[in-house]
Symmetry: C2
Amino acid sequence: VPGYYGFIGKFRAQPGRRDELLAILLAAAEALRGNKDCLLYLLNTSAAEPDAVWSNEVWTSKAAHDAALEPEDVKAVIRQAMPLIAGAPEATELTVAGGKGL
Amino acid sequence: VPGYYGFIGKFRAQPGRRDELLAILLAAAEALRGNKDCLLYLLNTSAAEPDAVWSNEVWTSKAAHDAALEPEDVKAVIRQAMPLIAGAPEATELTVAGGKGL
């Protein structure tokens, strides 16, 4: 696990459209089940910020993460999600140091 | 997985002391291996913010997370870490909606 690439994304949905955005992202996560470089891809909400969706990701490398955004079907999902998103996503890039659960 | 409690913590270490803080938190993560309510407890660093450590946690419930902070040995670890931490930690409480990896 040490050295793996962690990514936390925060996406703010247009008002009232969070659940639509979440459904699209959950479908995208399903599509990642066969990707052996993707160890973790959780989607989350928060009572404190009801329009936001967080992704919580671990990949074997940044290159694997970036490559997963390239296939045409993934780009189609991104295009579908874009109009539901308000403002620029916040991205936090991390290096996993260790711990429990993977 | 849906409904599980997610927690992202960000701790800023005193300048130059991040690796000491990280070592304490990694030992705390080891101590959680036997806790069945703790599904994920990763510790991370970032090249962009070299004094910070992020925890990336998933628990079966917020109550389980809070209870894990109560034992005296955990409180001793917290006391050990406190002088290494600059400022208040940032905490993001999440509800897991789904995805891959747990």
